[in-house]
Symmetry: C2
């Protein structure tokens, strides 16, 4: 059974997919309450009623966006996990950082919305369970912090959270932090990787 979201992703040129893309970007920039349906519709170049026709109420569209970025993260993590399998730890860490940081800098709304959801209450709060705990355990296992995927210690989970959030921070905070560092975009991305590697290598090897 194809969900509404899956159907939209099948054809990226479909109106439904275009709206979802704009919604990702704008919800990512302004958050749930900072975004109006009119802002999204205007970005796509359509009337708001068209938006409502395809996605229903604002909360449902937001929910679809969250699911979408979660799916994307899940796939990316799987991909990275396959790529680093079997290599020595320090190499695994460095490659994982390289790939994840690049991916997230290309899709900053992922970091924005992820952090936004961690930190902020929303007034008409739907809960919308996500798979964070599973991801955490998978990553912990992949980093050699646990013998068993299904039995990861709290310490290990905290360490993974620490690293994952640190990555998101640098991506989401780019507009704020980069001017402070007087870096151009590429230098800032490199500095992000360097900093992450510095802490990671010191802590885990």
């Amino acid at each position: 059974m194809a969900t509404s979201l899956e159907k939209a992703k099948q054809n990226p040129d479909s109106m439904k997919a275009k709206i979802l893309d704009a919604a990702r970007r704008i919800f990512g920039e302004y958050g749930f309450h900072g975004t109006t349906t009119r802002m999204i519709a205007k970005a796509v170049g359509i009337d708001i009623s068209t938006l409502y026709y395809h996605w229903g109420e604002k909360g449902d569209l937001y929910e679809a966006v969250i699911r979408d970025i979660n799916d994307g993260m899940g796939k990316k993590l799987e991909e990275v996990e396959k790529k680093i399998k079997g290599r020595p730890l320090s190499e695994r860490l460095e490659i994982a950082i390289e790939d994840m940081v690049d991916y997230l800098f290309e899709h900053p709304e992922i970091s924005n919305l992820t952090l936004f959801r961690y930190f902020m209450k929303t007034r008409h709060g739907k809960e919308l369970d996500v798979r964070v705990p599973e991801y955490l355990s998978d990553i912990a296992y992949s980093m050699g912090l646990a013998e068993d995927r299904r039995n990861v210690s709290t310490e290990a989970k905290m360490k993974v959270l620490f690293i994952m959030n640190a990555i998101h921070n640098f991506i989401s905070g780019e507009n704020f932090f980069r001017p402070m560092m007087q870096h151009d975009r590429n230098a800032y991305i490199q500095a992000t990787k360097d900093t992450l590697n510095f802490f990671n290598l010191a802590a885990f090897t």
Copy 2:
């Protein structure tokens, strides 16, 4: 010359101060656009017109809140810096984490609003310059990452940002992360300190 904010803080029982306190808490929970002036007024138990009488428009109140939490952080950082002066590095780090984490868990709206400002655009965006760069340099110096307060390398600033944001992450994300860890509040706070110490000690000593 006493600013409007300073005047409010002089008497914590004043209406102006009570409004500011509620505004801190609620802006911290829901963000700028997620908060309505009515929510704040209701929390204080007053009419919105009274709120407007004391603080003017919503954006001005928000600005006062930001200044307030910044002042608080500045004072706390100074206090911690004095306390750790002269001690060996590993001790300095551990004490600083202990004190800052406790302080921020007592005032979670600081972490919430700090991260919110880093990561989110606001529609009617006033910029409102804050002293982040100065704080960064001071902390870097205090952590032994720079010889000179006024000449701190980009690498050092990135490392400090990394740590500071990591602290904020655990405080702001408590409601999200703590259930995943199945910790009570105190255990979660301790786990936060342990995790921070783990990375800090590995990286800097």
